[in-house]
């Protein structure tokens, strides 16, 4: 299968992963860390009884949004990091997931816990359908197509004919999920556990897929498309399916956010969202599952600390510069590509290796 | 006294792969030397190394000046013209534009000179003068080769590196081109380093020959001697 592009592009779409291993969390040591983190995360809310001010509802809510962001970045990473298909428009799938969930909850009164499989299915189909024409696009062209998608999403959501469903510019207001079975948990605490369970499941699923045959095929396609083709890998199928799975992951994140924020509106799904996902991908570490988690945490931190950061720069450093999240993103994107292209996860791996010597 | 082009201990790499291990040869001013060898011996790589188009180690001196590590453009500006494998034609530019781009480095003041050089080139290759406004990509293989040699001439070089000028061309055209190369060498005194797979043709044209095998020089001598060497005859000349 030859791809005819208007100009000879000599570079491949191999992601910037020179040093970090292809296997996402292969060694036993890595796995141990994962278990520790999960255990700590599971126990955390229970500490509320002991230190209610530190483990407050607000903080738990914040951590839920971090997990949601992590899932979204993980989705993007599957497509871009592990499969080499650049997407600047993943915010679109996040929006589809959020709106699907919102509409199902609002119009059909479906309970929130039935949503995720449905949302995953819808987003998978949308992603797969987008992945089909994307098969012929590589590198810059795919980036261009997804860039266009990211810019057009808010407009599409405001389309008159969909207003009946989407609520137009005003969006849809939802209810936050309550703890089931009468458990003595606040809404934010239950949301935290809900997100945690979903995150762990999705992470495990991704990890499983990546270390198996599918994962190797995905990465082979990323590293040398033509060679993968000639080796008999059905690149078309893998690429389109990966698009679908990636969209499903990010869509699930969107659906979770609909529950968490209890509100969806078109203007929250603009270009800034897609850039945030890209930042999360790059800062956390391209082609790194733990990196996706770090990336998700990072984006939430930046957005939440925007005000504090801005004050810091203005008052403490004395620069007459309004440090918005957007500027932080811009500076980081540039600096990282020169200094630490493998992101934090890659940086940690390198540092760890050096320490062990 | 140092030769016009002197190469010693030349190593060259494509990325991590080493292609030349230890190449050494010399070229006298005004002479024609040929590099022979089978596919993959490193002939093209040697020419590329001289122009710093690949990662190079070793010593190369051109007219007494060391040129290893210099940018390709500046080596060219010293007077080295490389007619690359595949002709290197600017396919979307016209024939005239292809020739003029080679005169780019000469600047405004040389306009009259450039005109004279164009006339000279068309004298050598009348076929090109018939196709001045034609898009160079539509020329035949032979014509593109003539164009490539002409571009090299427009640089007013002191040394011409020719990479497989006979490749893919009909025998009659090849003979015509080689005849003209001999003329150019006689009239303009341009030194030539010729890489050729067609050993018989190359040995006809050149005064000296070096034989390369997997990145090393395995034989050197005047063409007449090399031509009659039994091994060479069997391996490269077919008899």
């Amino acid at each position: 299968m030859s791809t005819a592009n208007p100009a000879d592009t000599a570079t491949t779409t191999a992601a910037a992963v020179p040093a970090s291993p292809a296997a996402p969390a292969g060694t036993g040591a890595d796995r141990r860390w994962v278990w520790i983190v999960v255990a700590v995360a599971a126990v955390l809310p229970l500490l509320h009884a002991v230190v209610p001010d530190i483990v407050s509802d607000y903080r738990l809510f914040l951590m839920s949004t971090m997990m949601i962001a992590a899932i979204a970045v993980l989705g993007l990473n599957l497509l871009t990091g592990f499969n080499g298909q650049i997407s600047l428009g993943h915010g679109a799938f996040y929006a589809v997931g959020a709106y699907t969930a919102a509409v199902l909850m609002d119009k059909l009164d479906l309970p929130y816990w039935t949503l995720l499989p449905l949302v995953a299915a819808v987003c998978f189909v949308v992603g797969f359908l987008f992945g089909l024409p994307a098969l012929r696009l590589e590198g810059h062209y795919l980036a261009l197509a997804t860039f266009a998608l990211a810019l057009a999403v808010p407009q599409m959501l405001k389309y008159k004919w969909l207003e009946g469903l989407t609520g137009g510019v005003q969006g849809i207001v939802l209810l936050k999920p309550e703890a089931p079975f009468g458990l003595p948990l606040s809404e934010d605490q239950w949301l935290y556990y809900y997100c945690l369970i979903v995150t762990v499941l999705l992470y495990w699923a991704a990890w499983n897929m990546l270390r198996g045959r599918s994962g190797r095929a995905m990465m082979a396609i990323r590293d040398h498309h033509m060679a993968a083709d000639t080796m008999g890998i059905d690149t078309a199928r893998y690429k389109a399916v990966t698009f679908g799975i990636s969209a499903a992951y990010t869509g699930i994140a969107g659906a979770l956010s609909a529950s968490a924020i209890a509100f969806v509106a078109p203007d929250s799904f603009g270009f800034f969202l897609s850039i945030s996902l890209l930042i999360g991908l790059v800062v956390g570490g391209v082609a790194s599952l733990p990196g996706s988690i770090i990336g998700g945490i990072f984006t939430v931190l930046v957005q939440n600390s925007a005000q504090a950061l801005s004050n810091f720069v203005k008052n403490d450093i004395g620069l007459p510069y309004d440090l918005s999240p957007y500027s932080v993103y811009g500076i980081l994107l540039l600096v990282l590509m020169y200094v630490m292209p493998t992101g934090i996860a890659g940086g940690v791996v390198l540092a760890w290796r050096r320490l062990r010597r | 006294m140092a030769a016009f082009l002197e190469v010693n201990g030349l190593k060259a790499y494509y990325g991590q792969t080493q292609a030349l291990y230890d190449v050494a040869f010399a070229l006298e001013q005004g002479g024609i030397t040929t590099l022979l060898g089978a596919n993959g011996a490193g002939k093209t790589t040697t020419l590329r190394a001289i122009c710093n188009m690949v990662r190079t180690e070793g010593r190369i001196s051109f007219d007494g000046q060391p040129i290893v590590g210099r940018a390709t453009e500046s080596i060219v500006r010293l007077g080295v013209a490389h007619v690359p494998e595949g002709r290197g034609t600017f396919t979307t530019l016209t024939v005239e534009e292809n020739l003029r781009i080679a005169a780019y480095t000469r600047g405004r003041s040389a306009r009259a000179e450039v005109k004279r050089d164009l006339d000279m080139v068309f004298e050598y290759f009348p076929r090109l003068s018939e196709r001045i406004e034609q898009q160079a990509g539509t020329l035949s293989g032979g014509e593109q080769q003539m164009l490539a040699v002409s571009r090299a001439l427009m640089l007013r070089p002191r040394l011409m590196l020719l990479d497989e000028p006979s490749f893919g061309l009909a025998p009659l055209i090849v003979q015509e081109i080689f005849r003209i190369l001999r003329r150019i060498n006689n009239e303009s005194k341009v030194s030539m380093l010729l890489v050729e797979q067609n050993a018989a043709l190359a040995l006809e044209l050149a005064d000296h020959a070096y034989v390369l095998e997997t990145g090393r020089v395995v034989m050197a001598g005047p063409s007449a001697v090399v031509k009659n060497d039994e091994n060479i005859r069997k391996s490269y000349l077919g008899y």
Partner: protein, 301 residues
């Protein structure tokens, strides 16, 4: 009928802007194989610079030319400092850097000049050539300025030695080097020109869409659509594509209005402009990625 002609004329004016930005995109693409996602924001930033100069009392056209020169220099510097070290980096890194540039341009502009929408002056008097019935004076001025800029560029590339050297460097960098051309500087010049052309586009459009840091996003998208439609490897094609897309944009809106008036059904209108651009982009990329006039180059293994 008159309204239709008005729409087409106005579409041509928009198309002129898209053609400029599309040309800038193609210049960079042809020489470096990169798509400059930051082109719109760079143009916007240049426009703010010109606005500031005007605020400081400079005459419109003086500010215009100063901005063009400053943008040119900035383009050269960006290529040499930001992009040069990455020339062999993977595509993802390069795309990320462009997005980073985009974000920085946008946020710095927002910080320096706030996100409040500003008015931008027009240098064209209201009664320009008496055609102000069919086409506004500013719009006509936009088309004229654009045509002048495009003609100058055409003459430069076609008839000057430097222009030839730049074309050669873009088409075949290896052969260009072997002809003694300093290819690296040609790339930097290409960037400078692209930045300058983008600045012209920004300054022309600011009067129409009002000056704010997000003004170029939609325009960039349409410029992409135009460049792709015409052929992203073909400057002439891209310019034509820009004009076509500009007219198309208005015709679609006009058609939508007509249908709404005639049948009372709203199908498409001004609110869907970005979606239309997206559809054009996806359609061209899917059906004929080389566009109407571009060349198809099959990748060799």
């Amino acid at each position: 009928m008159e309204q239709l002609i008005q729409q087409i004329a106005s579409g041509l004016a928009n198309g002129a802007i898209y053609a400029c930005v599309a040309l800038a995109l193609v210049m960079i693409f042809v020489s470096t194989d990169h798509i400059n996602f930051a082109q719109g924001e760079m143009a916007m930033f240049s426009t703010y610079i010109s606005w500031q100069l005007i605020q400081w009392g400079l005459d419109y056209w003086v500010a215009f030319f100063v901005t063009v020169v400053v943008s040119f220099v900035a383009g050269v510097l960006i290529e040499r400092i930001v992009l040069r070290p990455l020339h062999s980096a993977p595509v993802l890194s390069i795309v990320v850097v462009f997005i980073g540039l985009l974000a920085i341009c946008n946020s710095v502009a927002g910080t320096a000049w706030s996100y409040l929408i500003k008015e931008y002056p027009t240098p064209f008097p209201k009664e320009l050539f008496g055609l102000s019935g069919l086409i506004g004076a500013h719009q006509l001025g936009v088309v004229i300025v654009t045509l002048i800029v495009l003609s100058l560029l055409y003459v430069f590339f076609r008839y000057t030695p430097l222009g030839l050297a730049m074309r050669a460097a873009a088409q075949n960098p290896v052969s260009a080097r072997l002809s003694g051309v300093r290819v690296d500087w040609m790339l930097a010049l290409g960037w400078g020109l692209a930045a300058a052309v983008g600045a012209v586009a920004g300054m022309m459009v600011a009067h129409i869409v009002y000056l704010d840091p997000n003004m170029m996003a939609g325009i960039l998208l349409y410029a992409f659509a135009g460049a792709l439609l015409g052929g992203i490897s073909n400057p002439g094609g891209a310019v034509l594509g820009g004009f076509i897309v500009g007219v198309l944009e208005n015709l679609v809106a006009y058609l939508g209005n007509a249908i709404e008036k005639g049948f009372g059904v709203y199908i498409i209108g001004n609110g869907e402009k970005l979606t239309v651009a997206l559809i054009i982009v996806i359609t061209v990329l899917t059906l004929k990625p080389s566009g109407l006039f571009g060349r198809v180059v099959v990748k060799r293994v």
